[in-house]
């Protein structure tokens, strides 16, 4: 091909590409496969005065050890994506002997690995916020037919709204859509994309809004007469039989995790300046009665704990909330939802409480947090190079890393953006009549 020039350029790179089972999203499961990078290559062909460009995505595996070649076996069951194995010259020559000739093995690409490592640091903040979207993106890239992948990209492209993370996803969708449709605006999209990444990097402290909300809530607690905070707990709906003996049962293990995070939360509240008294109210119902009893027993050693029983067929909470409502002074209530709760009971009981507080004329100071059982988040990178990992056990791992004297604000900041914090206004709104629970 004397009269032709072929130039290959990497135009976009994403480090640490995890492929998770989408159907096991909330099961605290490990990824099926992790590739070290996804590169988008531009192949420019100059022939007879004409320039033509083609784009190809390839996955990179930086192999450090010989046994990593066996990862290719997993790829066979994953739609056989195009993977390039990179490594030292010695390792590559050993691998070449092991694998068949058609496998793409490249040695001496240490510079690329180094560059991607630097790149990964930039991406931590992005990945932390959009981990699940990226999982969907990568999974679709590998496992969906092009026409279906295009649909997912179209959905991504629609996300842009001025929020940096959504804008990033939108541009990512646009980039790959432009590549698929061979549009001419690819360079422009790439520029937009790198501009957004830079902005995100410059704007690392993204918890300011959350901090303001928590400060406002805590200020009110401090100003209240008794400086008392009541935690209203909606535990995850796990059925635990009364006579359960097997302590290795999944439900028992999950209950233990609930207890652990609640204890951490109580400690954090106790460590918070200005809060002098903490008590708890556990929201029980027919299905989780036994679970709530165990929970109450565990917590009563730490703080004053009551249990409110919500019945589907009766007007809930009329009597059980008396203790809470008759308290003198202002009410400071932190509603804690552990993963999920029966929605109609949750909505109706919350509405009842807010109405009752309103009727009593008490200036309630309210906040609500939902602590999910498992989330996709970023790893610290000490034990693994994988950026996105699954964190389970109600995020106890995230807080446990910084266990020394965590207060509630720093605990919430650590769990950001996985734990939603809603304030008094939000809660008043949620309990409005225009919402049918």
């Amino acid at each position: 091909m004397n009269d032709e020039d072929l130039v290959i350029r990497i135009i976009h790179a994403m480090p640490s590409v995890n492929i998770f089972y989408p159907d096991a999203t909330f099961s605290y499961t490990e990824a099926i496969r992790e590739y070290d990078a996804l590169l988008l290559l531009k192949v420019v062909r100059k022939a007879r005065g004409r320039t033509e460009s083609e784009y190809y995505p390839i996955l990179i595996e930086f192999a450090g050890k010989l046994h990593e070649a066996s990862k290719l076996m997993v790829d066979r069951l994953l739609n056989n994506p195009q993977v390039v194995i990179c490594g030292s010259q010695e390792l590559c020559s050993q691998m070449r002997e092991m694998l068949s000739f058609h496998h793409f093995i490249l040695s001496d690409l240490g510079f690329l690995e180094k560059k991607l490592d630097d790149f990964a640091k930039k991406f931590i903040e992005v990945y932390k916020h959009v981990a699940e979207h990226l999982n969907l993106f990568w999974f679709s890239l590998i496992s969906l037919s092009v026409n279906n992948f295009r649909k997912i990209l179209g959905d991504f492209a629609r996300l842009s709204n001025g929020n940096l993370y959504l804008d990033y996803l939108s541009e990512l969708g646009r980039l790959y859509k432009s590549v698929l449709d061979r549009e001419e605006n690819i360079e422009l999209v790439l520029e937009d994309l790198s501009r957004i990444v830079e902005k995100i990097e410059a704007n690392q402290k993204s918890t300011s809004e959350l901090t303001r909300k928590i400060d406002r809530f805590l200020q009110k607690v401090k100003k209240s007469k008794q400086k008392r905070l009541t935690i209203m707990i909606y535990p995850q709906s796990i059925f635990i039989p009364k006579n359960i003996k097997d302590t290795s049962d999944t439900s028992i293990l999950r209950l233990k995790n609930m207890i652990k995070i609640l204890k951490m939360l109580i400690d954090a509240i106790k460590n918070t300046d200005g809060i002098e008294y903490v008590d708890a109210l556990i929201m029980s119902n027919r299905r989780i009665e036994n679970l709530c009893n165990i929970l109450a027993k565990e917590l009563c050693g730490l703080i004053d704990t009551k249990t409110a029983y919500i019945d589907e067929n009766e007007d809930p909470l009329v009597n059980t909330l008396k203790g809470l409502i008759t308290t003198d002074g202002d009410i400071n209530l932190l509603v804690v939802v552990l993963q999920d709760y029966k929605k109609d009971l949750f909505g109706k009981s919350l509405r009842k409480i807010v109405e009752d507080l309103n009727n009593k004329g008490k200036g309630a100071n309210l906040a609500l947090i939902i602590i999910p059982e498992a989330v996709f988040t970023t790893s610290r990178g000490e034990q693994t190079k994988r950026i996105i990992v699954v964190s389970g056990n109600f995020l106890t791992g995230i807080s446990a890393r910084y266990s020394d004297k965590l207060d509630i604000k720093s605990m919430m900041e650590l769990m950001y953006p996985h734990v939603l914090w809603l304030d008094t206004d939000d809660l008043y709104f949620i309990t409005k009549a225009k919402i049918v629970w």
């Binding site: 069951l77 979207h133 999950r254």
Partner: protein, 537 residues
Amino acid sequence: MVIELIFYPLCTFSISYPWKSDNTSKDLSRALQSFLRDLITYFSMFGVYPSIRDINILSGIRGLKITIGYVNYLDEARKVMILRLLGRGSESRSKRGDEWGFDRFVHLIRECALSLISPIACDIITVGDSRYMEYTHPMKIKQTHEELKKVIKAIDKSKYEELCRNFPHLKIDVSRILLEDQEIRKILAFSIMALLSGAHRNGIAIRQVASQWILWKIAEIVKDIALASKRGITSTGMDVGILGTNELLKILYALIADTYLWLSHIGIIRVKFYGVETHYSVAAVPLATLYQFLKSKIERDGKSNWCEFSSMLKSFLSKSPSFMNEMFSSLCCYLKMSANKCSGGCMGNDFSMYADIIGEIAGKTKVFLQEFFKEFFNNKDFSISSDTLLGRFSFLTEKIKRVFSGEKKKFNVLITTATEQYGPAQAYLLLELLNSSTKRGSSRLIVLYTQLSYWNRLLVEDALRCRYSTEIKECTFEYYPISPSNPYLTLEIVKKIFSSLKEQCVLMILQGQLNIVLPAIAACKDMPVDRYLVLVL
């Protein structure tokens, strides 16, 4: 008979037509090819989307038979699909091109059964002709070699016919309805995929989506018959509709059998099914109840798991005529009642009719299941809180009907969250609601989905495109990926959607975990109070 101890069939789907060069045969051939395309798309979970040109390799096909059943594998009922493809002539004389097509098709399906992405988990057995000991045709030699080398399961044609003849199972003939209705092809393909899905959480969701889709189609056929007879019209498609209902009910019955009997059997053998895989799934709660009863029965009777399973399956299949009769009589009752009833009101006639039929069939199914298991376990205490397959859909329909029967506001935009049970039936239901609200004016259906429900989003779009390609031009469909791991993004996305609305009124129907529902609600905070309504399910 020895074979009875190791194999039990559940159902056989058969599609066949005589090979002629007339237009009907050509239409049937095209319908069959389009069905096979859907089958491949669903089997690969949208990983493969062959164009009709690709599927032309199967142009010689004049029919197929798919038998789904269970084999005893070390006391575990392992699912098998026996596939018999019919060519232009008899198998031994079929054209060389047909053979290539068949071979590639079977390989593709086998590939899906192995893939980590595809939800299907079954052994694939092909039906061959072992009359001749020797072959000279290269294709035949290749097939024989593969069969023997990889022990690819193949069954002789005469043995297969004997199996189909001697074992009582559901025989579902879809030749005629397949030609009539493009959507039924999709329902059929998806239902086969659901029946072949493994014992995993997504497998339950796929079965739910398939059952709901079948139920919706039945409701639609019955509604059309009711409306036609009200107007005094005898529709030409009516008999096909009745035939369709009959076959669809059989598929529904097969799905019920597979879900309740096979999944609970697997739960006995692999206890992790409840402890790990479906611990988060509300839909698996009735199966866990069934598991307790089945476990006690096995312990009490001292039979093997396979014996208990096959006798339960045999007993369940023997009840299929009474299930069909019950459903038919209840649908006939409904038709009689609707002829005299003049329903209307703000909900719209169509929506009410759908809701009534869905409620009727779902309710009857639950009662039927309770009665069957009470009798089978000889225990009056057996009770399930809801039906795994249709319970959620029926609840959803009922609640929407109850909430909106008095609602006078006109909603142009509907925002919903797609859970793993979200499928075409739920989308049609929401569209009917939108249509009855806007009187078929312009509207938007916005679906928020997670990485878990990516396939639901693709399936619904596929179904909507097939169904409403020409009908609904006024309605636009939009899909937004959201993330339970970052509820703040969900909040932002819903806010963005609201900012794009002008003076339209928004209806939000929210399902799923609170980490999705609450940020979506919180995003409405800045909306004027008269322009939205939220329904949490």
